[in-house]
Subunit: 383 residues, 2 copies
DNA sequence: TCGATTCGTCGAATCGATTCGATGAGATGG
DNA sequence: CCATCTCATCGAATCGATTCGACGAATCGA
C-alpha cells in the first residue's frame, strides 16, 4: 500500500531520489541511501510492478508457450516449465504460462499487451503459427527444440544433439565389448512426421555403425505399447541376437522391459540396455545406463537466449549483463554458460541487420552418472 | 504500439469512450461501438496491461506457488500447473509460476508488487511460511491439498478425499468377490510426517474393512523401491494370501509389479491389483483398475476458489461472475461446478467478518474408466 | 411548451513509478 | 575572489489506460 511518495516523505527526499536509490541508476550519497532504505524497510514498501512497467516498458516477465494438444499432457513439458522458471529467476525474470490450446491468440495478447518481454516457445512445429505471430509483432523469441533442418528465420534455439546422443550410446556399447547392437528408435509416426529428434536419432545410430564397424540393427518403435513390445521381440530374435539394446522411445519402457523379462532374457547379464532421452520422472524408472535429456542445461540455455534477445529497446539483441549481474546466482550462470557447448552462430545468416548473430545451441549429450554398461556374456562371445 | 488515443482519434471519439466500448462499462450507441471496434481492428490495438493494471488495481493474473525442494521435481506438480493454467484462462486469468525454493520471498514480491490478484499454493505444509506471509499481506489465497486436521485459518482449499478413495477401492474389491484384500499404503516416511493423504488412506482402508467385514491386511510402503517390493512380498506371503491388492504408493509401481511377476503371480488371474492416486504420466503405465487423482477437477476447483477469493477490493470474497461470464468456456465452468461435491462451508468459522464463508472442497473419488476388477480365481474360493 | 429525465459522450483527474533537464552547494583553479 | 566544474538532489513530464462528474441533446409527461 505504501508508494514511492510515502518513502520519499518519510526519508525527507524527492520521489525521484528514492527511485535512484532503488535502481542504482544515479549516484547517491551513502547518507541518503541508508535513510531511504530504512524508510523502505519501515514501510514495507514494494514498487508496484504495473507502474514500473508502464513507464519503463519492461515487465521482467517471460511468457512460456507450453504445447497443449487437446487434453494431452506430456510430463516433460511440466518439467521444462518448472526448470525454465527457475532459470528465469536467475536472470530476474518471472515466467507466465501460456497453455491455450491455440496458443497464437494468447501469445499475441500477452506480447502486444506488454505483459512479457520475450517468449519461449516449446516444441516448435515446422510451420509454427505462434512463431510467425511473434515475428510479425517483432517480439523477442527463443525456441526449445528446433524444426527440421530449417533455420527458423534465424531465431535462436536450443536442442539436444540427438544424433550425438544415440551415437554415443552405441559407441559406449561397442566400447564395452558388444559387437551386435540393437536400436529401438522413435515411433514410426514420429519418424513419419519428420520430428527432428527422431530423424537425428536414426542418423546417430547409422553414423555409429559406420564408425565402429559394429553390427547395428535399427527398428522404429510404435505408438502402441503392445506393438512396441513386438518390435523388441523381433529385434532380439534370431540365432545370433544382439547383446546390447539402445532405446530411444521410452514411453512404453515398462512394457518393453516386461517383454524382455518374458523372453527369459535377464538384465544386465544377457542384455545390456541403454536408454537415450526423456525420463520425465526421476522416480520409478529402473536404474539402467542412460543418456538423459539434460533438462536443466537446456532450460538454462533457452532462458538465457530469450533474455539476450531482449534488446535495450525490446527488439534487437544485446548483452543483458547489467541486470543479470544484480540477481544472477552463480550456479545458474555457470550452468548456463559453461554447460552449453557448440554454440554455432550463423550457419545461414538470413538475419536482418548487422547486430550480433542469433545463437543456436546444440547441446552435447553425456552419459548420465549411474550403473556402468556391462560387457557381453563371456560364454557367448561377440563376433 | 497503438494507444487508446490513436483509436479515439481514428474513430473520432474521446479516449474514455473507447474504454467504455472495450470494457462494456457504460452504454454506448451501436453506431460508435462499431466505429471504435473497426478502428481497433485497423490499428491492431491491444490495451497495455500495465496501464490497465496501474489504474484498475487488477492484474488478471494468478500466481501459482509450485513446491520446489532443492533439485527435486515431482511430475504431478507440472501436471497441476498446466491444468491450473488452463482453468485460469477460463476465468480470464493468466498464471505466473513461482518456483523459488524459498517461495516466501518471491510470493511476497509478486503479491505486494501487485503482479497478481491471488495466489494458489500447492502442497501446503502444516506450518506454511508462504501461507502466513500471504495472510499478513491480506492477499487472497486458495490451497491445493490441505494440512492435517487443521483448518488453516479458514483459507479455502481443495483436496481429494483420500479416505473415500482407498475405501472405495477396497469395497470394489470386496464387491467383486474378494474376501482377503491387501493394502500397500503410503510410504513410512509420509505417514511419519503425518501427510494428510497418507493418514486418510489408512483410515479409508480400516473403515472399509469394518464396513465390509472383509479381511484387510495393511502395510506401509517404503521410499526405497527395493524395500517397497519387500513389503509386497510380505503382504502376498502366507498360506492364505490375499486375492486383491490395493496400492496407494505408486512411485515404485514398476518395481512392485516386477516383484509380483517374480513371485510367479499373474495379473489379473491370481491377483486383482487396484491403484489409488497419482499417475503423473498417462502413458507407459499398465492398464489396471484404478482410482485416479482427478487432476482436472481439482485444478478447476482450486482455480475457482482463488478467483472467488478476489473480492471487488481485492480482499473479501464475492462472486466473480461479471468477468467470468465474458470469457468462461462452458466446458470449464461445468467441470468446475458440477465436478466438485461436498463443499462443506464453515466447519469452524474463525473467519474475520460476516462475508460468505470460505469454501473447502473434498473431492469425491471415482473409479477411472478402464478394465474391470476381476473376481478371485474359482479354484481358490474366497473364505 | 416547459421542466425533468434519460442517453450518449466528453474532459480531466488519477494510478505509481521512471527519467531527464535544472539547480544549488561545494570544490577547484587561476 | 570570482568563474568553472562536479556532485547530489529536486521537479515535472510521462507512460496508457480507467473512471467519475459534467454536459448537451433527445425524449417524456403534463
Amino acid at each position: 500500500m505504501a508508494t514511492i511518495k510515502d518513502v520519499a516523505t518519510l526519508s525527507g527526499v524527492a520521489p525521484s531520489t528514492v527511485s535512484y536509490v532503488l535502481n542504482g541508476s544515479r549516484k547517491i550519497s551513502e547518507d541518503t541511501r541508508t535513510r531511504v532504505l530504512d524508510a523502505v524497510r519501515e514501510l514495507g514498501y514494494h514498487p508496484r510492478a504495473s507502474a514500473r512497467t508502464l513507464r519503463s516498458a519492461r515487465s521482467d516477465v517471460l511468457v512460456l508457450a507450453v504445447p497443449r494438444e487437446a487434453g494431452k499432457y506430456r510430463a516433460m513439458d511440466g518439467r521444462f516449465a518448472v526448470e525454465i522458471s527457475d532459470a528465469a529467476r536467475g536472470h530476474g525474470f518471472d515466467v507466465l504460462m501460456m497453455t491455450d490450446p491455440d496458443g497464437v491468440r494468447g501469445l499475441r495478447r500477452i506480447a502486444a499487451g506488454g505483459q512479457a518481454d520475450a517468449a519461449i516457445l516449446m516444441a516448435v512445429q515446422e510451420e509454427d503459427a505462434r512463431l510467425a505471430a511473434m515475428r510479425e509483432l517483432g517480439f523477442p523469441v527463443a525456441l526449445l527444440g528446433h524444426g527440421n533442418e530449417r533455420d527458423e528465420w534465424g531465431v535462436p534455439w536450443v536442442d539436444l544433439d540427438w544424433e550425438a546422443a544415440v551415437s554415443l550410446a552405441v559407441r559406449q556399447a561397442v566400447a564395452a565389448g558388444h559387437r551386435r547392437v540393437a536400436f529401438l528408435a522413435s515411433a514410426e509416426h514420429e519418424i513419419a512426421a519428420r520430428r527432428g529428434y527422431a530423424l537425428h536419432g536414426l542418423d546417430g545410430a547409422r553414423a555409429a555403425a559406420r564408425e565402429t564397424g559394429a553390427e547395428v540393427v535399427i527398428r522404429p518403435s510404435a505408438g502402441d505399447p503392445e506393438r512396441a513390445a513386438a518390435r523388441v521381440r523381433e529385434l532380439l530374435a534370431g540365432s545370433e541376437p544382439p547383446t546390447a539394446l539402445v532405446i530411444q522411445h521410452l514411453i512404453p519402457l515398462t512394457r518393453v522391459l516386461a517383454e524382455i523379462a518374458a523372453l527369459g532374457i535377464r538384465l544386465p547379464a544377457d542384455l545390456a540396455v541403454i536408454l537415450v532421452g526423456t525420463l520425465p520422472d526421476e522416480s520409478g524408472t529402473p536404474d539402467l545406463p542412460r543418456i538423459d535429456l539434460p533438462v536443466g542445461r537446456m532450460s538454462a540455455a533457452v532462458t538465457e537466449l530469450a533474455v539476450r534477445a531482449i534488446g535495450a529497446d525490446g527488439r534487437g539483441a544485446g548483452p543483458a549483463e547489467t541486470k543479470a549481474t544484480a540477481t544472477l546466482s552463480a550456479t545458474t550462470k555457470s550452468a548456463a554458460t559453461a554447460g552449453t557447448t557448440a554454440a554455432d552462430s550463423a550457419a545461414r545468416t538470413d538475419g536482418d541487420g548487422p547486430g550480433p548473430a542469433p545463437r543456436r545451441e546444440l547441446i552435447t549429450p553425456r552419459m548420465t552418472p549411474g550403473p556402468a554398461l556391462s560387457p557381453p556374456r563371456a560364454d557367448r562371445p561377440a563376433t
